[in-house]
């Protein structure tokens, strides 16, 4: 079930990333995609009747797979780092162009480039 939910979240994330023009929404979509991959990794580590992977000497209980959980840790940290950096870049763009609309920012940038390339008469 969790695996299916992770695929659904991935779909929503990719759709929002592609369809929405707002840069902040795009960042949120990236976060959603990351959450879906975390959920997927945790769900594939599940085992029926498995306990949290904390084991003391002599215990033989069934544990869930600890490897995906260790990998998920990296995913969370790297996502946090990427989102913080991306947010800074979005802030810089917003301060310069006064909009979060990706299409308008592109138009402004191409207009600026055209103006720079136009020879002075």
């Amino acid at each position: 079930m969790a695996t299916i939910v992770s695929f659904v979240l991935l779909g929503i994330g990719i759709l929002a990333l592609v369809l929405r023009r707002d840069l902040v929404i795009k960042l949120l979509a990236l976060g959603l995609i990351n959450a879906s991959s975390i959920l997927f990794l945790v769900s594939i580590g599940n085992r029926p009747g498995g306990r949290a992977p904390i084991q003391f000497p002599g215990e033989t209980a069934v544990l869930v797979d600890p490897l995906p959980q260790a990998l998920v840790l990296s995913a969370i940290v790297v996502n946090f780092a990427i989102l913080a950096l991306a947010l800074v870049f979005v802030m810089i763009l917003v301060e310069r162009y006064h909009t979060t609309d990706a299409q308008r920012i592109e138009q402004e940038m191409s207009r600026e480039t055209d103006e720079e390339e136009t020879p002075c008469l």
Binding site: F7, P53, Q55, Q69, L73, V78, A81, L85, F89
Partner: protein
């Protein structure tokens, strides 16, 4: 077909492609559990950590974790650099209500205590350095909400914290190279694993958890402080 409709069709197509591709990959080859079995077959006495996850990311796959810490440091550096080089903005200060400030003042120290517990007991119970660091940064954010950003920055100066953060990173890398001095390969465990389940066990995992906790705390606090300085206030 209008541009927007074309975008929607393309997007749905891309999503459908990815979902079908992932589903087929997942169904065709269920994740190979051989790797996991290999990790689980290692007795806990080897790493000494009752927490299997800590035993993996701070012992068997320590190299991954160190690179991950490096990525985090680079991100902190990037955030501070770009924010300090972009013009400061002055938004109207939003003061929190007395209820929020009082609650934050009470919750801050409790969250800090929880972070110390997570870092110290991360090898025998759920937790670890990364979680502890983020909780500690949240705790200081609570304190900043309660007492104001300027008072908090006066105690935790970003310049000094940045130097300490880089110092911890350097120390961690020196620690993994230290075995070379004894003629061993880098990443060789220096401390004895001890008895799993005891507080003083798991070799270097306890100091790693503490150091990573402090480092992540410093890094997250630097990011918060950089955003707050850029904005003028919290």
């Amino acid at each position: 077909m209008s541009t927007q409709k074309r975008w929607i069709v393309c997007s749905v197509g891309i999503v459908a492609f990815f979902v079908v591709l992932l589903s087929i990959t997942y169904m065709a080859s269920m994740p190979d559990s051989a790797d996991s079995e290999r990790y689980l077959s290692i007795p806990i006495e080897v790493s000494g950590a009752a927490n299997r996850v800590a035993g993996i990311y701070l012992n068997t796959r320590l190299f991954d974790t160190l690179i991950e810490i490096l990525v985090f440091s680079v991100a902190v550096l990037g955030v501070r650099y770009y924010l300090s080089h972009s013009p400061q903005i002055s938004l109207p200060s939003l003061s929190e209500s007395a209820v929020v400030r009082t609650a934050a003042g009470i919750l801050g120290p409790l969250a800090l205590l929880l972070s110390v517990y997570f870092a110290t007991f991360g090898h025998i119970s759920p937790g670890g350095g990364f979680a502890a660091g983020v909780i500690a940064a949240s705790a200081v954010l609570y304190v900043a909400i309660a007492q104001g950003m300027q008072a908090t920055e006066a105690r935790l100066s970003p310049q000094r914290i940045a130097a300490a953060e880089k110092g911890i990173l350097l120390f961690l890398f020196l620690w993994i190279l230290l075995p070379l001095a004894f003629g061993d390969a880098p990443l060789t465990e220096l401390l004895p694993p001890g008895t799993p389940g005891k507080l003083l066990s798991a070799g270097s995992i306890l100091p790693y958890n503490l150091l990573i906790g402090i480092k992540v705390f410093f890094g997250a606090w630097l990011i918060i402080a950089a955003f707050a300085q850029h904005r003028g206030d919290l």
